[in-house]
């Protein structure tokens, strides 16, 4: 891929940027989940690898979070945008060279950012942990070039209308830039106190709500109709989904600070808006599941559909939790417990990851014109991810309920730690399964590029039979 950095745009084969993004994303996924499993082992066994500052939990935890969010999830989004945006516009990517540079600078910047975080150079603000020079780098060399490529491809499309997926891609890349600039204002202008605390969570909420959730959903809007051959059930519901994300998902930031002394009107407002997140959620899930009408056999038979529909089904408990756990009636019990950790993993490792994994499977096979090397390895990947994640989610939810009970009944804290111990071990096992699955995936994709069956011109990969 690096040889294309200096090539002329017209000499770069179409889809190269998407392949670069796709393999980078899988590699970051392996790194990110490996770090996650390592950190989980430390919570289960505190003397596992001890006495070294740079292998301590406090130095590694944020590296795991950012490797997964900005490496895996966001680069998988980049892959999806490089591949799906031109496909839906019946055109080529506006600039393949910009895409290649974007992926290259993304990997360089993220490596640099994770290294400084690892050494402890942090802003001390959760989810916006990167120091401000990395934030500026992300805006200038990651978010803006990605946005320009997506917007210009949409503008230069050769279709009349714009399909649902591309509304989301175009809007989410724009909103990511706004969120990154505004959410990091405390670092540029040294804002302090509650302003700083509130903006921290404004950023954390919106980077999930206006970037990760809508783009993941947009991917499903492409994958399911494309692979099943069914048209999208309803564009009207798609409209409802899009507009309610912008209106409802962008407003409840304060519900992350329900126990902080923020103005009460703000917390009440955020809480009500938080329940309204169910509007885009239900619109999305029903739209995708209804699109599956008559093709439910593919949920069993086709890997990409199975990944996507599993992710959509996980959006149901995710949004039921998300809508209600932030109300005062429930939040006082589970705030700050492992329940929230389980919920965050349901959003990123459950819902979102499954949708992106499908897009990366589908996109890489289509662009490289190679059938997936091994169905067996693909199935093993799916089940390791699903079983590993479920183990993680169930154990952390139970641990969270124990912590919540310990909190309100004022149990001495150490008794809570003792009670949680078995669930910490289960969490580590779940995380390790996910990590193992991803190593297998990377191997499978690498072998697909090298030895996958060639897909003939004009055919989709899922129309061919597997050979292994």
């Amino acid at each position: 891929m690096l040889k294309y950095l200096m090539a002329k745009n017209e000499d770069i084969p179409p889809g190269s940027a998407a392949v670069y993004f796709g393999f980078s994303a899988i590699t970051w996924f392996v790194i990110g989940t490996g770090l996650g499993a390592f950190n989980a082992a430390k919570l289960a066994f505190p003397d596992f690898v001890t006495g070294l500052e740079f292998l301590s939990f406090g130095h590694m935890r944020q590296v795991h979070v950012h490797a997964v969010i900005f490496g895996w999830i966001s680069m998988a989004f980049g892959m999806a945008m490089m591949y799906i945006t031109p496909a839906l516009g019946n055109t080529r990517l506006w600039s393949e060279k910009l895409g290649i540079w974007n992926a290259f600078l993304w990997n360089v910047g993220l490596s640099l950012g994770l290294t400084v975080l690892w050494f402890g150079m942090t802003s001390g603000r959760e989810y916006s942990d990167f120091p401000w020079f990395i934030d500026l780098y992300i805006v200038a060399f990651i978010a803006v070039p990605l946005g320009i490529n997506v917007w210009m491809t949409i503008i230069h499309r050769r279709t009349q209308g714009i399909y649902t997926t591309n509304w989301f891609f175009g809007a989410a890349t724009f909103m990511l830039i706004i969120v990154f600039i505004v959410g990091n204002l405390p670092e540029y202008f040294h804002l302090t106190g509650l302003t700083e605390a509130y903006l921290t969570w404004w950023f954390a909420h919106n980077v999930l709500g206006l970037w990760i959730t809508p783009v993941a959903a947009a991917i499903a809007y492409y994958t399911i109709p494309k692979v099943t051959g069914n048209p999208l059930y309803s564009h009207r519901i798609g409209h409802l989904h899009f507009w309610s994300v912008v209106v409802f998902y962008s407003t409840p930031a304060a519900h992350h600070l329900m126990s902080a002394p923020l103005p009460e009107w703000l917390k009440s407002f955020a809480s009500v808006e938080g329940v309204l997140i169910l509007v885009p959620a239900i619109a999305f899930v029903s739209n995708i599941l209804l699109t599956m009408q008559g093709k439910w056999n593919m949920f069993v038979e086709n890997l990409e559909v199975r990944f996507t529909v599993t992710g959509c089904l996980m959006a149901i408990p995710l949004n039921m939790q998300g809508g209600f756990q932030q109300t005062r009636a429930i939040n006082w019990y589970i705030h700050g417990t492992g329940w929230i950790v389980a919920h965050a993993h349901l959003a990123l490792l459950g819902f979102s990851t499954f949708l992106e994994a499908a897009a990366v499977y589908l996109g890489l096979q289509t662009i490289m014109k190679r059938k997936l090397y091994s169905l067996t390895l693909g199935n093993i990947h799916f089940w390791l991810l699903l079983i590993g994640f479920t183990t993680y989610w169930v154990s952390m939810t139970i641990a969270g309920l124990i912590q919540g009970a310990g909190k309100i009944y004022e149990v001495p804290y150490i008794d809570v730690v003792i009670a949680e111990h078995p669930y910490m071990i289960a969490r580590w096992i779940g995380g390790s399964l996910v990590f193992t699955g991803n190593c297998i995936w990377l191997y499978n994709m690498w072998m697909t590029a090298r030895a996958g069956t060639v897909v003939p011109e004009g055919r989709m990969p899922h129309e061919l039979a597997y050979e292994r």
Binding site: H59, P131, L194, T200, P263, Y413
Partner: protein, 313 residues
């Protein structure tokens, strides 16, 4: 983008996102900016300094250019005994906290008193300054620049206090951020049941000038906002940081023995492998007592971290 629908859509999109940001950013900012700093906020920003996360004064979070909190028992000018008072020492070149740099941040009467009675606008980074938190007769708290009002210089105050009465709490907060303590320990007792165990939840004006607030979100360990009031033992803290299992066998906290640095208080090299081997023997029942934890050096990182924890009253 030639469709009329897309032009309308783009305008609605701007309206929706702009409206959302007006309600969630602009409107709360009026409320939050109208809050006056409390005594807690003045104390906290003065001992913690301008910024505990990444900043150009201390890019590697090593505790460079940080203020000191000292307990004065003698007057630094006359040497006469005086009522014990906490003073905040900003040596030359140390950036002042938000409330001093931007008195608007203190808000209302606190701003007025700090400027008029406290003379904080006369403080200069090029000479350094010593600050106090004072109250007038009506119990209105304000920041006083003791360098301007009483002629206390940073050097004289440090000398009068002595090392045993000096707290490196600001450098300690930097370590709290760098070492990721806040991934497990919150600094925010919740407004529901928490105040009975972890102390009073903070008030609206308790954070003015502090950055980062490091509330934490995932409480895998006890809240620390008032930990210095619950446990003020330096010895306990020392054992607990070196190896938490020494004082709490079920703790899952990591060991922070690496913060001791290479040598102990007497300048003797600390033999970590030997300590760990002996500790393992103790754990396996081959020794009756655990090996002794070395006393930390005065300028070690662990000293500032313990000073920070004990400052959280």
């Amino acid at each position: 983008m030639n469709f009329r629908e897309y032009k309308i859509g783009a305008r609605f999109f701007a309206l929706a996102l702009g409206g959302s940001m007006t309600i969630t950013l602009l409107m709360p900012s009026f409320d939050i900016n109208n809050v006056s700093a409390t005594e807690v906020a003045m104390d906290k920003q003065l001992w913690a300094g301008a910024e505990s996360g990444f900043n150009l004064d201390d890019p590697f979070l090593l505790g460079w250019h940080k203020p000191l909190k000292v307990l004065l028992k003698t007057d630094p000018k006359t040497g006469q005994p005086m009522e014990p008072t906490y003073a905040y020492v900003y040596e030359k070149g140390t950036t002042f906290p938000g409330g001093v740099l931007h008195p608007d941040n203190l808000g209302g009467i606190a701003k007025q008193l700090s400027i008029e009675k406290g003379r904080i606008k006369e403080a200069s980074k090029n000479v350094g300054a010593v600050f106090l938190v004072k109250a007038d007769e009506q119990k209105h708290y304000y920041i006083e620049n003791a360098t301007a009002t009483m002629g206390w210089t940073p050097e004289a105050v440090e000398k009068a206090a002595g090392d045993e009465n000096t707290l490196h709490a600001a450098a300690g907060k930097t370590l709290f951020v760098r070492e990721g303590c806040w991934w497990c320990h919150t600094l925010l007792p919740e407004q529901t049941q928490d105040w009975q165990v972890f102390g009073a939840p903070p008030m609206l004006g308790d954070f003015n000038g502090e950055s980062p607030t490091a509330f934490g979100s995932d409480r895998k360990a006890p809240d620390l906002l008032h930990v210095g009031s619950r446990n003020a033992s330096k010895e306990w803290m020392m054992l607990h940081f070196f190896n938490p299992r020494l004082v709490q066998p079920h703790s899952i906290m990591p060991r922070f023995d690496y913060l001791w640095g290479p040598v102990d208080a007497n300048g003797k090299k600390i033999d970590f492998p030997k300590w760990r081997a002996e500790y393992n023997e103790y754990r396996e029942g081959k020794r009756i007592t655990p090996p002794e934890v070395p006393m930390y050096a005065r300028n070690s990182e662990i000293r500032s971290l313990i000073d920070f924890v004990l400052t959280l009253k």
